[in-house]
């Protein structure tokens, strides 16, 4: 299958070709790649792309996959509407 047609990150439409191009340029950590391609920054927070990027990094750098650092996990666990948060603060007091 053509690398252009393999989706790595569904949230941000990143393909395997995009990822490989960046690896060739010398960006070989998840955090660096995230800052340029936005992998892991979408609504799924890297649940899809996280392991795929990790696997590609392991292959490219010839490193065991368990030694490839994962990206920083940030709150929130799932998307919450801002007005729902406002409503919740009213019920707290």
């Amino acid at each position: 299958m053509n690398k252009k047609d393999v989706i790595i990150c569904r949230c941000e439409d990143v393909t395997l070709e995009d990822l490989h191009n960046l690896l060739e340029e010398g960006y070989t950590s998840f955090e660096e790649i995230k800052r340029i391609l936005r992998v892991g920054m979408g609504p799924c927070q890297g649940n899809t792309c996280g392991q795929l990027v990790q696997r590609e990094l392991a292959k490219f750098t010839n490193t065991p996959i368990n030694e490839i650092p994962t990206h920083k996990v940030r709150p929130l666990i799932t998307g919450v509407k801002l007005k729902a948060i406002v409503e919740a603060t009213k019920n707290e007091s």
Binding site: R35, G79, K81, T89
Partner: protein
């Protein structure tokens, strides 16, 4: 290893200084950063570019930086889009005092060639239709302010500097700067020892600690400022909306998501960058009050980053009389990203002993030796 200059910190200030020095022909420049590319304050900032300031220095630094950003894509020869969107900053006043202060600010800004203007609440709503007019008393608007992608601009400077021969070392912490007879002789990191007599402190949130390494007390401190981002939607907001009295800035970035932040008056000083539920609550309440329809958007992520605050909320870009060869680019007070082109240019001029593009007297660290330093920048969230 030997170096003509060692730069501590590869955030936007460090890469801009490296690029400007290299462009002027300086060889053997080495940059150390204890993190990955854009891992510090630069990569955590609100991505805004603003010229509407309350002090002359900040206005000029911002204006000249915008002029650079307008040509940065070509000048830095960057293959990806730096996402410079000039659709303005709408500065919202909510009190009589702010009406008066902002009108004064616009007079200052106009005198320096910044095309800001005062708007009625209705005119402001013409620019941002979902603005809640119940709380707006007036506004000011500058159409050439805007947004820029911090990751991409840092990457662009980094790549351009690298092409000019600058050596970068990431995940490499500077542990010690050795001074002998009031002269810098060596920089020691985890894995290297570099012989040099010039060091630039562009360490962002850790600028004070780098000053302490050479016994120079820099009057700055760091503080966590939190941000959140929403899911992306179709474009509904052109400018950044900012209010100092309501304590909010909020913009829709070209990607489609909304980025917003506010400061916490009770935040303790320090290097913590944790995310808090308290911020999430207060941010949600503030944005829903000022821009009600944004309440329908889902929050995707939140994070924190360090402001490095100076006593007058203006940067320190200077040499240090007590230690020749030690240079400072710190204390940006939350605005180091948008001033970076001028930081890079001015500090390279200072280091090379050239005539500076601007008078840098009021950016010198020595201004704090008198407690009556002139201007305090109030236009800070």
């Amino acid at each position: 290893m030997k170096a003509n200059i060692v730069i501590v910190g590869a955030g936007i200030s460090g890469v801009a200084i490296a690029y400007n020095l290299a462009k002027k022909g300086v060889k053997e420049i080495v940059v150390f950063d204890d993190n990955y590319l854009s891992g510090g304050a630069t990569g955590r900032c609100g991505a805004g570019i603003r010229q509407q300031w309350g002090t002359k220095n900040n206005c000029i630094l911002a204006k000249k930086s915008v002029e650079f950003f307008e040509t940065a894509q070509e000048e830095l020869g960057y293959p990806r889009d730096i996402e410079f969107k000039q659709e303005g900053y709408l500065v919202v006043a909510t009190t009589k005092e702010e009406d008066i202060q902002f009108a004064k600010n616009v007079i200052l800004q106009n005198s320096l060639g910044i095309p800001a203007k005062v708007l009625t609440p209705e005119e402001a709503q013409g620019i941002v239709p979902h603005l809640n007019l119940d709380i707006v008393t007036s506004a000011t608007f500058c159409p050439t302010d805007g947004h820029l992608n911090p990751f991409k601009v840092t990457d662009a400077y980094y790549l351009a500097a690298k092409r000019l021969g600058v050596k970068f070392f990431y995940e490499e912490k500077v542990k010690e700067i050795i001074v002998k007879n009031k002269k810098i002789v060596k920089v020691v990191t985890d894995n290297y020892e570099v012989i040099t007599n010039k060091v630039v402190n562009a360490a962002g949130g850790y600028a004070k600690e780098v000053g302490d390494m050479v016994g120079i007390d820099i009057p700055v401190y760091s503080e966590n400022h939190e941000i959140l981002v929403t899911e992306p939607i179709e474009k509904i907001q052109g400018p950044m909306v900012i209010s100092f009295s309501k304590n909010i800035y909020c913009q829709q970035v070209p990607h489609g998501s909304f980025i917003m932040g506010r400061s916490d008056p009770d935040m303790p000083k320090g290097h913590n960058t944790d995310s808090s539920w308290h911020f999430l609550d207060e941010m949600a309440k503030t944005v829903v009050e000022i821009l009600p329809p944004i309440g329908d958007l889902r929050v995707i992520r939140q994070w924190g980053g360090l402001y490095n605050l100076s006593p007058d909320r203006q940067p320190i870009i200077s040499d240090v009389k007590e230690l020749p060869g030690f240079y400072l680019a710190c204390g940006f007070s939350g605005h180091g990203f948008m001033f970076a082109p001028m930081t890079g240019l001015l500090l390279s001029e200072i280091i090379l002993g050239e005539k500076t593009t601007l008078d840098t007297t009021d950016l010198h660290i020595d201004r704090f030796k008198n407690s009556d330093f002139k201007d305090y920048e109030k236009s800070v969230v």
